[in-house]
């Protein structure tokens, strides 16, 4: 199965590194969609079929926490799987993200091996329904 992935991170170099990392794995990607903040991410989700969102937290315009709250409040989008990759170290904020239903949390700097292992696990549990 090939996946459509949405990368929501204000750093274009992080998005490039993620795309490069996927290129070195067996994970098949149909399309990468990119968004520099949560607002653009939500707009993309409303237009495109997305299998998984990879989300940063600290972003301008709409941060990752606000994105998650908006996502879960939207009946059409609330079940979209999300993996967070962030520098956020606060336990309280991580717990809040877990309450909002993220599938996994990776702390930057995540190694490519950690990233691949996590995404393989998460994507393995995703099917087009």
């Amino acid at each position: 199965m090939a996946y459509n992935l949405l990368l929501v991170d204000d750093s274009s170099i992080v998005r490039k590194v993620l795309i490069r990392t996927f290129g070195m794995t067996d994970i098949k990607v149909n399309n990468f969609f990119e968004a520099a903040n949560g607002k653009v991410g939500l707009e993309t989700l409303r237009k495109e079929w997305i299998d998984l969102v990879i989300l940063d937290i600290n972003m301008p315009v709409m941060n990752g926490m606000e994105f998650m709250e908006a996502l879960r409040a939207d009946p059409d989008l609330k079940d979209t799987p999300v993996v967070v990759i962030s520098t956020e170290g606060s336990e309280d904020r991580r717990k809040r993200l877990e309450e909002l239903g993220i599938r996994a949390y990776l702390r930057k700097p995540a190694t490519p091996e950690d990233l691949v292992a996590t995404l393989t696990t998460v994507l393995g549990g995703i099917s087009h329904e």
């Binding site: 204000d10 750093s11 274009s12 170099i13 992080v14 490039k16 590194v17 490069r20 600290n58 972003m59 301008p60 962030s86 520098t87 956020e88 170290g89 606060s90 336990e91 309280d92 904020r93 702390r107 930057k108 700097p109 190694t111």
Partner: protein
């Protein structure tokens, strides 16, 4: 005591080695490690919480280029775009700040951080930029870099 043994030093070493994939060697914090004839950049992130302050990184183009090349897996003789270089620096400051705050103050503390910014510095301000702050300096892939932290509230 080496500054590399402080929370700022430990986190800086880890991020430069593990994330930026650089070989790092701690050097004495002084402006002469830089090439004073070339432009300087200052990347920084403000944080606010129980403790508030600013974490900054001072570097020059050689460091910017090395980080971008390593992250993007480019050949060493290829020149990354200025946008990629500055974006790589901004992300590095962001990662440094997030990891430093947890290392220094623990996971129970909650901090708000603003998006990183990178500005050009004049060479005659370098001494001032590292004075009176926690600072650790490295040669990273033979390029100088100074990482500073200053609290604005105790």
């Amino acid at each position: 005591m080496s500054n590399a043994d402080t929370p700022l030093g430990r986190v800086s070493t880890k991020i430069l080695e593990d994330w930026a994939m650089m070989f790092v060697e701690e050097v004495e914090p002084r402006s002469e490690i830089f090439d004073l004839s070339k432009p300087f950049y200052f990347g920084s992130v403000d944080f606010k919480g129980t403790f508030s302050g600013i974490l900054g990184v001072i570097f020059q183009d050689a460091f910017l280029k090395a980080v971008a090349i390593n992250l993007l897996g480019m050949d060493g003789d290829v020149e990354p775009s200025k946008a990629d270089k500055l974006d790589a620096a901004a992300e590095m400051v962001n990662i440094l700040t997030g990891n430093f705050l947890t290392e220094a103050y623990g996971a129970d503390e909650v901090f708000d951080v603003v998006a990183p910014r990178v500005v050009e510095l004049r060479s005659n301000t370098i001494t001032e930029a590292i004075k009176g702050k926690q600072v650790v300096c490295f040669m990273a892939d033979d390029a100088p870099v100074a990482i500073t932290m200053a609290l604005t509230t105790p």
